[in-house]
Symmetry: C2
Subunit: 391 residues, 2 copies
């Protein structure tokens, strides 16, 4: 087991009508002027924004709003948010939505306390020394950003997608009402499920040893996610299943399933180029990339893939045919993704084999010539993994 630090200070309020606690949570944080940041019109149409505004008014907390965050959130809106926060002397940032709204809100929070260009943080030119406090009302479980230290932003100029982490990016509170997710389109629900499973895989596929507890916790979460996903396929308003998915998304990315091991994140790197180039939903891109990555890295640690296959995917153990068992596990994952309506190939997401050179160019800019740890990938490895996803 590797030495580790784990810090997940977010105050979670979870359950039916949880959003009614936003006012008192903001008061507890002594917020006086709140920047409310969200995405599309569903937050408005559903009446959620109105209910939140009503609470702020009731608690005499002033606020400004900025909607319009898109999936794969762009730097342009972040700049706009920063400018508003500075001008309006905002002292608290409240994200209402899913990973994109939260990631954008985090960037705004850091930028609002910085004199330079916030992109410096994402470019590795500066590190975050201060940020406005961030709170979250979650409506889309997927990215785990409601508890994580990370934020991913895309620079419009060149469509560079970059993720960073900071202690300042841990939200102070996260309000999570699974009922708010009932109306999510099936595709988005499934993409979120792939995303959270991927957050686990990126840590599960490690060369670190002696991490049995973290392994088992990860396996437990994966099984629960898949079971709940299958329930939701048939009954989109099943509270317990929706609640399981909501909470699993948090668990998958608040760091608890990372302790004691070296993380990888290669597949996210590979996928980021896909979603930056084609504007494909992140989770859908991951459904395409992860099985390909797994097949390509199978030989790195057949035992680990064997463990995954037997403990999570229900493949019958067979010590003499470990490789075959391990491969069956990957097939089961593909079957599951297919079952929940996720794509498995370049073709299904409108990606093209002939664009691989472009993907690799961007990858080189964003990640350099070599990246990853479970298997250190060269750009040639990356090419082969992209090709495996083209079948």
């Amino acid at each position: 087991m590797e030495n580790f630090k784990f810090y997940s200070p977010t105050d979670f309020v979870f359950g039916k009508n949880a959003e009614n606690e936003v006012g008192s949570l903001l008061k507890m944080q002594h917020a006086t002027k709140v920047f409310i940041h969200f995405g599309g019109g569903s937050v408005v149409r559903s009446g959620l924004l109105g209910r939140i505004e009503a609470q702020l008014k009731l608690n005499h907390i002033d606020y400004v709003i900025l909607g319009g965050v898109k999936p794969n959130p762009l730097d342009t809106l972040v700049y706009e948010g920063i400018s508003i926060c500075k001008k309006e002397k905002v002292d608290f940032v409240l994200a209402v939505g899913g990973g994109s709204a939260i990631d954008s809100a985090k960037a705004v929070a850091a930028g609002a306390k910085y004199d330079g260009d916030f992109w410096d943080f994402y470019d590795g030119k500066a590190s975050i020394e201060d940020a406005l406090p961030v709170g979250v009302v979650l409506t889309i479980p997927a990215a785990g950003s409601e508890a994580s230290m990370s934020s991913v932003i895309t620079k419009t100029d060149g469509m560079l997608k970059r993720g960073i982490g900071s202690r300042f990016y841990r939200p102070l509170f996260a309000v999570m009402n699974p009922e708010l997710t009932y109306t999510l389109p099936a595709y988005q629900t499934s993409a979120g499920i792939v995303d959270m499973m991927s957050h686990i895989f990126e840590r599960y596929l490690t060369k670190s040893t002696g991490v049995d507890l973290t392994d088992r916790l990860s396996e437990a979460t994966l099984i629960s996610i898949m079971d709940a996903a299958r329930v939701i396929q048939k009954d989109s308003k099943n509270y317990d299943a929706r609640a399981t998915i909501c909470w699993a998304g948090t668990i998958a990315h608040n760091g608890i399933l990372a302790v004691g091991r070296i993380e990888d994140w290669s597949t996210h790197a590979l996928e980021h180029e896909l979603s930056a180039l084609y504007d494909v939903t992140h989770g859908a891109g991951l459904a395409v990339m992860f099985p390909a990555y797994m097949k390509y890295t199978l030989e790195e640690d057949v035992n680990r893939y064997y463990q995954l296959a037997t403990r999570v995917f229900g493949v019958t153990p067979n010590e003499t045919k470990k490789r075959m068992v391990a491969l069956s596990g990957i097939s089961k994952l593909e079957e599951f993704y297919h079952e929940i309506g996720m794509p498995l190939t370049f073709n299904e997401i409108g990606a093209k084999k002939e664009d691989i050179d472009i993907l690799l160019e961007k990858l080189k800019i964003n990640r350099g010539d070599r990246f990853g740890s479970f298997k250190v990938l060269t750009l040639d490895d990356a090419r082969k993994i992209y090709e495996l996803a083209c079948y």
Copy 2:
């Protein structure tokens, strides 16, 4: 799944030489005068206290020390600590040790900011509105107090053992070096293991439904604990196994395995009377009480015990003989406790059947006529459970 709040803000620094970070952690918390609280001489003999003192000196942080915390920590030392903290204008409480030192430190931290008698908190006469910040250097994994919101103190007058919880009792940081646990006596290691498993059982045995994720995370932790315990039986200096036990103790009691369900804590109540009357080690008392409690409550939810038996204790599933399978699971738990040198009967811990009336009298004072939720226990139920442990 029940609505829940989850808040575990502790900053964990885990691994080899983690204690070397104490100075910088205290500085980050702006501590200027620290009250260092610990138990027996092992913290002194091992040189740990000296190393911590050296770091404080290096960082120009003033401190006072108070050792002498005993298992089942007493109010008398808490009063002494409060008096020191008030007199010396302490602004940070650092516990060095296990659950007893931490629980005592928490009580001191609350009492130091209270004008009345700190026992008011434990007596339910007052609730904690403020407390000095608490940090922890953990040397005994068991109680989970390094992350939990709870503290259990025994009032010398009448030997009343009472536990309470407060947001103010969440330590700000916890430094955990598994190597510090190498020299723990085998009995104490095992008692700690029983304690953390019990923290899981108290939540696992619930009537709440739709808690599949929390169930599976709990089962994962139980399996890992038992596997690591068996390794430690043979090799007390196995780093990964010691690290697993350390971290499992935290996971078991920081609340993550409680989310979404109603907790019980009846068995802790039953055990508290044992350890208060006979001064038996808490974990050893729990090893005696839990199998008895489980047998007594089996009919409350055979399916839950069946799930425990098949998923955790490796009993072969047999849907037509659920009760038998469930009972086999409890037997496996007893075998495991026996394997790690833990007692299973009143006799083995020096408790007497003829004292049951005294135990029940205390229980009535501390918990009233009825308590628990998985099965609401009357004092007559409690008598029968105690009797089951007398065999």
